[in-house]
């Protein structure tokens, strides 16, 4: 639970760097928190990594769509910074690093895992916009 505020800060701070409009910043933090909480709670409930990422992406997507309608801003403003805590950057990076140190099998496995997680994130994010499509802001 101690990590939750940090997910908020990560998303809100990177939103500043991504030039998000001022009034969106704190809400963006909330999206980062929602995604991370979905991920963390699913992990605690015993879900494997990829399933937990899927849960996080769904939570992030739903909260982003709701806020987009409430604030009349495009959902992408909330999704992109909010994704950051969930993104498999470290895994991809670790894979490349292992490859550079000739640990080929482990490196390839980490890269494949990063790709899988990125794919699951993208799939999870593809669902909420469809759910909300009929509800125009």
């Amino acid at each position: 639970m101690i990590t939750y505020p940090f997910a908020f800060v990560t998303a809100a701070a990177i939103a500043i760097s991504f030039r998000s409009p001022r009034r969106a910043i704190l809400w963006t933090g909330l999206c980062g928190l929602a995604g991370w909480a979905g991920f963390d709670l699913a992990l605690r409930a015993g879900a494997p990594d990829p399933a937990a990422v899927f849960a996080g992406a769904l939570a992030l997507g739903v909260v982003s769509e709701l806020l987009a309608r409430r604030l009349h801003l495009p959902a992408i403003l909330f999704v992109i910074p909010g994704l950051l805590p969930l993104v498999p950057g470290i895994i991809a990076y670790r894979g490349m690093l292992l490859l550079s140190q000739s640990q080929l099998a482990e490196g390839a496995w980490q890269l494949a895992r990063a790709l899988l997680i990125a794919g699951i994130l993208a799939a999870g994010l593809a669902i909420p916009p469809v759910m909300f499509r009929r509800w125009r802001s």
Partner: protein
């Protein structure tokens, strides 16, 4: 409307598409917005083909086509949101194309929502917070913030000097390891999470995910291009980190 005004409309639509692509919008959104603008003026059905590096818009029945090349890409969410609002207002009330073009130019030149100096501290803060998300401990957060200020500042300097992106990433990766190692020697802060937090901000995890989002939307060329961009970036970062770890005598520590 004659063919002259349909050319003017295509110019407006292309300008909007270029701003969106330069601001990091996904291809599906670009094509959707551009098509909405063209339809708002009622000049015909557009065929639109956008990729991260360029956009083609054509009115098939009028032999009118515009092509725009897109070179610089960053993430600028304020511009995406402004173009989105403009396209909606154009759909409700199609303004004179020259006026619309002026509004789009205004968007691409609009000042950042926050002062420029805040960019590096904000990235450093995000990296420091990420340190906790990748398994760091509370005492590592504040040192991590300062380490990542140096890393992010160095990266901005590299870009300001006009170094290619891959070189800037390589230097940033190496820089992250050096800063974390210094912190470890001085304060005994564990190296791993500090480097990992910094890497998390630099690493193209977002680019990977956006590539796969394009792929799911069916924009395969765009997905391939973004995936390759991400791959080059992660390779450069890992090379920088690997070289620096070799120099300071560490290994993969997390």
């Amino acid at each position: 409307m004659g063919s002259r005004s349909s050319t003017a409309v295509l110019q407006v639509a292309a300008a909007a598409g270029v701003v969106l692509l330069q601001s990091g919008a996904d291809v599906a959104r670009v094509e959707d917005t551009v098509s909405r603008i063209v339809r708002a003026y009622g000049v015909g059905d557009p065929e639109i083909y956008a990729t991260p590096t360029g956009i083609f818009i054509s009115l098939a029945d009028q032999e009118a086509t515009v092509v725009r090349r897109v070179r610089n890409r960053t993430i600028a969410l304020d511009r995406i949101s402004a173009v989105n609002a403009l396209s909606r207002s154009l759909a409700a009330d199609p303004k004179d194309p020259a006026e619309a073009l002026r509004l789009i130019r205004e968007i691409s030149e609009q000042p950042m929502p926050f002062p420029r100096w805040l960019d590096v501290p904000a990235s450093g803060l995000a990296a420091a917070a990420c340190t906790m998300l990748v398994g760091g401990t509370l005492p590592a957060v504040v040192p991590s913030f300062f380490a990542n200020l140096v890393v992010q500042g160095g990266e901005r300097i590299c870009r300001w000097l006009g170094l290619p992106d891959a070189v800037a990433d390589l230097i940033a990766g190496a820089n992250a390891v050096f800063c974390a190692t210094l912190l470890h020697r001085w304060l005994g802060v564990p190296v791993g999470p500090v480097v990992a937090g910094g890497i998390m901000i630099l690493v193209p995890g977002l680019a990977f995910t956006n590539a796969l989002r394009d792929a799911i939307a069916g924009d395969l060329v765009s997905a391939t291009a973004r995936g390759l961009e991400a791959f080059v970036k992660v390779t450069a970062l890992a090379a920088g980190v690997g070289a620096a770890l070799y120099l300071v005598g560490g290994g993969v520590t997390w």
